[in-house]
């Protein structure tokens, strides 16, 4: 029996006994809370709870897990239990993979997809932000060209998009799960507007225009929600009477869902790709928006919409259809759903890998058998 056949048999045996690693390549955000990284940590956490050996894989040894003089680490903005998950460093040569292992690469790391094309493990792209999926790829280059066919993404809209760009991609949809501490506030909400914007200049512009046009509402506080520990973020959001979301490039749009879960009405600029929880495209190609938020395509209208919402809040008149729509969406994207989806998705991926390796083994054994028969005949 050849060494190759022996290796494949060992790999299959490891897959069947869950004795393999799933490595999630993750950037070091240096303590800055980033939703996409939080989602990776959720996958790693659930997989470990399900008995898999999942790792957060980072480039350098100085990956920031704990707070230092320069700010927060994973333990501070995500939680201690996340910092305690298995981590592996490429610099420390802790990434040693065989055919039974899996390497999950975020969409923006086209360079890593190229560099790892000769790795024996299964590689999968985790697509959370479609906007970055062509980063580091040259003209005409695709993931398949470098041996990656499988993609995990967070929404059907992103699935449709990636499959339209890279034809033949095998895409798994695994929506984001919002942690259980995003709950409704027991106490009444305060006249605070929570803002989440990819481009921080939009926040400043909105606030300046708002105060300029509505000076009698100067007592309204605007809070930039970036850079907060996750649980603090949830508490602040719960207190706020309104959320404002500006992210043209969003792939999924976690912030509005978090708003809905905390019973905070949200005003948002419709992103380039309409998230599935926000609406859908009908048979005539028209976008139909859900009534779970106040959605506009006009960025300049945001200060006026915020002012209208302030008026409704002060008069206790937030429309019932809006709160009903929010509640309906808020029942989705739970951690329980995430757990179930992670289990289903990764079980499918592992099963597919097993079939791939079994097919490879059968072919290899047939080739070797034919080769042996030929040698015997020749002798």
């Amino acid at each position: 029996m050849s060494e190759q056949v022996e290796n494949l048999k060992t790999a299959l045996s490891k897959i069947k006994s869950k004795d393999f690693g799933i490595y999630f390549y993750t950037i070091d955000t240096k303590g800055n809370p980033v939703a996409s990284v939080a989602n990776i940590y959720e996958h790693v956490k659930v997989l470990n709870e399900l008995g898999y050996r999942a790792y957060v894989l980072h480039q350098q040894n100085d990956y920031k897990l704990y707070e230092d003089e320069n700010g927060m680490g994973i333990a501070n903005w995500l939680g201690e239990e996340y910092a305690n998950l298995p981590h592996a460093s490429i610099e420390a040569q802790q990434l040693q993979v065989g055919p039974s292992d899996f390497l999950i690469i975020p969409e923006a790391f086209g360079g890593l997809i190229k560099e790892t094309q000769n790795f024996p493990c299964k590689r999968i792209v985790l697509l959370q932000a479609y906007e970055y999926m062509l980063e580091d790829l040259g003209l005409g280059e695709s993931w398949q060209q470098f041996g990656v066919n499988d993609v995990i993404t967070t929404s059907n809209t992103q699935k449709d998009y990636v499959e339209s760009v890279f034809r033949g991609t095998n895409t798994h949809v695994l929506p984001v799960g919002i942690p259980d501490y995003f709950t409704k506030n027991e106490k009444p909400k305060k006249p605070i507007v929570a803002i989440s914007a990819r481009d921080k200049r939009e926040i400043l512009k909105l606030v300046k225009v708002f105060y300029q046009k509505y000076p009698h509402y100067k007592f309204i506080t605007f809070r930039d929600m970036s850079g907060m520990a996750r649980e603090t973020f949830a508490t602040e959001l719960r207190d706020s009477f309104l959320g404002v979301w500006v992210d043209d490039l969003a792939g999924f749009g976690t912030f509005p869902i978090e708003c809905m879960k905390t019973n905070t009405p949200v005003v948002g600029k419709i992103p380039r790709m309409v998230p599935e929880w926000m609406g859908y495209t009908d048979e005539n190609g028209n976008t139909q928006l859900n009534e779970n938020g106040v959605w506009t395509s006009n960025l300049n209208a945001l200060p006026d919409i915020v002012a209208t919402m302030v008026g409704l809040y002060l008069e206790g008149g937030i429309p019932q259809n809006l709160t009903n729509g929010m509640e309906e969406t808020a029942t989705k994207y739970t951690t329980e759903e995430l757990r179930n989806n992670v289990e289903t998705t990764y079980t499918n991926i592992v099963n597919q890998r097993q079939v791939e390796l079994e097919t490879l083994l059968t072919r290899l054994e047939e080739t070797e058998s034919t080769k042996t028969e030929t040698e015997v005949t020749n002798n």
Binding site: K190, F219, T221, L314, G316
Partner: protein, 260 residues
């Protein structure tokens, strides 16, 4: 039914009193939560008593009670009389030419259940001219960031520097009046201010509910504050401002002699 009593003081009949009163009473009738009682505290003026007897109380007839005040019928005296007659844990008051917003009692109930330690809840007041046009808000400033020690609360330090609060429509726990006194009839012009200073001095939490709870007709001819405006010079106004800062240490209503 609400656990809040609405006190409506009225001491004389002027132009449009009936129309204003109708509007005020309708605003009580339109509450999302029915008050326990609507106490009309009135003087013994014959014309007023006739008006109140023939007045169409609408749906409030089931819970309206007329209380004749034979004592001090100043604004403060009328409120104090109403408080004496109140049988509920909390009360609010409504001037006869103003309106409660339809959500005010409902909001009050909600905030009382979440903040039972608070002794005085103020609304954000929607100030209008006699034609009903918006002039400004009052009380809203405490919700601005860093205005007070705790967002939404009026504290004594804030009051030392900022006196422009309007306590119309305030919802008060009767217990704090029992403990620290009611409105002082000897205070002119700044009795509102003195009351808030006294409450905060005695560590009674004073919170502004961030809801438009009260529509206040400002600058109405014949109103108490127009009377003050017309009769008091700036020196006298300053005297009462300073006097409020001297009187709030005492619960009792002490004699005050105006000196220039």
């Amino acid at each position: 039914m609400s656990k809040i009593t609405v006190i409506l003081p009225i001491h004389t009949v002027q132009n449009n009193t009936e129309a204003y009163l109708k509007r005020a009473v309708d605003s009580v009738a339109n509450q999302k939560t029915t008050p326990k009682e609507l106490l009309i505290v009135h003087s013994n003026e014959t014309e007023l008593k006739e008006l109140l007897t023939s007045f169409d109380w609408g749906t409030t007839k089931d819970y309206v009670r007329l209380v004749e005040n034979t004592g001090d019928t100043s604004f403060q005296g009328q409120i104090n009389k109403g408080v004496e007659e109140t049988t509920t844990e909390y009360f609010t008051f409504l001037e006869c030419d103003d309106e409660l917003s339809t959500i005010w009692l409902e909001s009050g109930e909600e905030y009382i259940s979440h903040y039972p330690e608070v002794g005085v809840f103020l609304p954000i007041v929607f100030e209008t001219n006699p034609e009903g046009q918006f002039i400004s808000f009052t009380n809203e400033a405490v919700w601005a960031k860093d205005f007070s020690e705790e967002m939404g609360y009026i504290d004594n330090n804030v009051l030392q520097n900022f006196a422009n609060f309007n306590f119309d429509g305030m919802i008060v726990k009767k217990e704090v009046i029992d403990n620290f006194g009611g409105l002082k009839t000897n205070m002119k012009l700044t009795f509102t201010y003195e009351f808030l200073l006294r409450m905060t001095y005695n560590s009674v939490p004073v919170k502004v509910i961030p809801k438009l709870g009260y529509k206040h007709t400002n600058t109405r001819e014949g109103s108490l504050f127009m009377e003050y405006k017309e009769t008091m010079d700036p020196i006298q106004s300053r005297f009462w401002q300073n006097q409020a800062k001297k009187e709030y240490f005492w619960s009792e209503d002490r004699e005050i002699t105006y000196e220039q």
